[in-house]
């Protein structure tokens, strides 16, 4: 039995996951079952960070992966976003990096960034 805190929502249910059958108890919703079973086999996280932004009022663009990536890839993926430059205008959801380090996740813009009026 592995004891986990569910991180799907702020409620933070205390889960118990059977490491053989992957059966989950202690959850309050179905997402807890999905999270618990996955967390013991192949833990996944969403990466959120920033990239350099040019030709906008702000200097940084918030970005995130459009799906979860393997937890073990977080540091490498965060490092891979260093030095990446995005140029305004940008719309929320625009792809900044496709298939980030082969994870299958795209790095996408987190907000609109209009072009700076010169």
């Amino acid at each position: 039995m592995k004891e986990l805190t569910c991180i799907v929502c702020p409620r933070g249910c205390a889960l118990r996951v059977d490491e053989v059958t992957f059966q989950v108890t202690g959850n309050s919703c179905s997402r807890g079952v999905e999270y618990g079973a996955r967390e013991v086999r192949d833990p996944q996280r969403t990466l959120t960070t920033t990239v350099i932004l040019e030709e906008a009022v702000r200097k940084r663009l918030p970005v995130k992966t459009d799906r979860t990536i393997q937890k073990s890839m977080m540091a490498a993926c965060a490092a891979a976003t260093n030095g990446i430059v995005a140029t305004a205008p940008i719309k929320v959801g625009d792809i900044i990096i496709e298939n980030l380090l082969g994870t299958g996740a795209n790095l996408i813009a987190g907000c609109d960034m209009p072009k700076r009026k010169s």
Partner: protein, 420 residues
Amino acid sequence: MNKNHVELAVIGAGPAGMAAALAAWESGIRDIVILERGSVPGGILPQCIHNGFGLHRFKEELTGPEYAGRDLELLKKTGVEILCNTMVLSISPDRCIDAVGKETGYLSFTADSIILAMGCRERTAGAILLEGSRPSGIFSAGTAQRYINIEGYMVGKKAVILGSGDIGLIMARRMTLEGAKVEAVVELMPYSNGLTRNVVQCLEDYNIPLYLSHTVTKVHGDTRISGVSITKVDENRIPIAGSEFDIDCDTLLLSVGLIPENELSKTAGVELDPRTNGAVVDENMQTEAEGIFACGNVLHVHDLVDFVSAEGERAGKSAAEYLKNGTAKKDSYILVKNGFGVGYTVPQRISTNCKTPVTVFFRVNRVYKKSEIFISNEKGEMMSFKRERMAPGEMEKIVISPDKLKSGNVIIIGARAITQ
């Protein structure tokens, strides 16, 4: 804006103010202005680039900028005017607003109704009497978050974080992902003040040690901070002699609490509650001052933006109701009080003629495992609700039906452990 009167003025374009303005618009009010001192709307959300927002309100997991973007999209479809770079200087009890704006210059106008949504600010090194020298490299966690996520400056390479509230935990992960080494998160209390899921995904994921019942007792360094002394504390939070150890660092982040920013509420003559440091409100979010409402972190510090927005909506609807019908002033009220184990309640009072169920928010003042929330009036206990776990870092809520308000002048909310 070039007039001397509006129907509704909202102070602050963070999540509370945006939700309040939207709700008032949807309730039929057509003359609304939001005054925002920052250069863009969104309040603190644009710098909160992590995800976890919006699960209640938008039914999906969003980052802070995405959440603010959703509200802005909704506002664009309305005629609500947002004035950025505009600082409100004072509000008088008869609802005259004085402000200065970058584009507008000096503004002075009256409002039929005002919604206070100014948010909160961080406690500082001075507020916690941090001992030792005052070198550079000491930041409040939110300031460091702004430097890194908005301005693009890294604040340091080797950090210690004092305080395990959510901002401290989020910044531990953020600093790590940006290549810094976070040596420790130090917490005075025997439990974290943040959400458990943040302890898991921000500290445990990155093997960052959390020292509970410890505090920073000395800052070392001359021009730049070079390290801190950390000491274990006893159950009365007094440092234990001989338990001190040093950690080298070039950065100290402070996540040591938030203070609702109520300077304007004071000029407006709004009564404040010393337990929340926010206004005293009724179930409609209306303050003691007629026509002035409050919502979000200026009223009481929340854990989740979704609840801030929900409170903003309540304030917006109530302000619209007030503008349409007026409110019978000097209603009689039932007082809501915090009983054993509970730190505060919001609202602090409920009108006796209230006909809808009232949601009361509160925080317990220590960690409880299997426990009960119990509601009583002067005649005795009326009902109780079971909880698996309660902690000061996680706001609780209960719903009181109007029939429970019929017999009595006071409602007391308490907490107790269930012993097996």
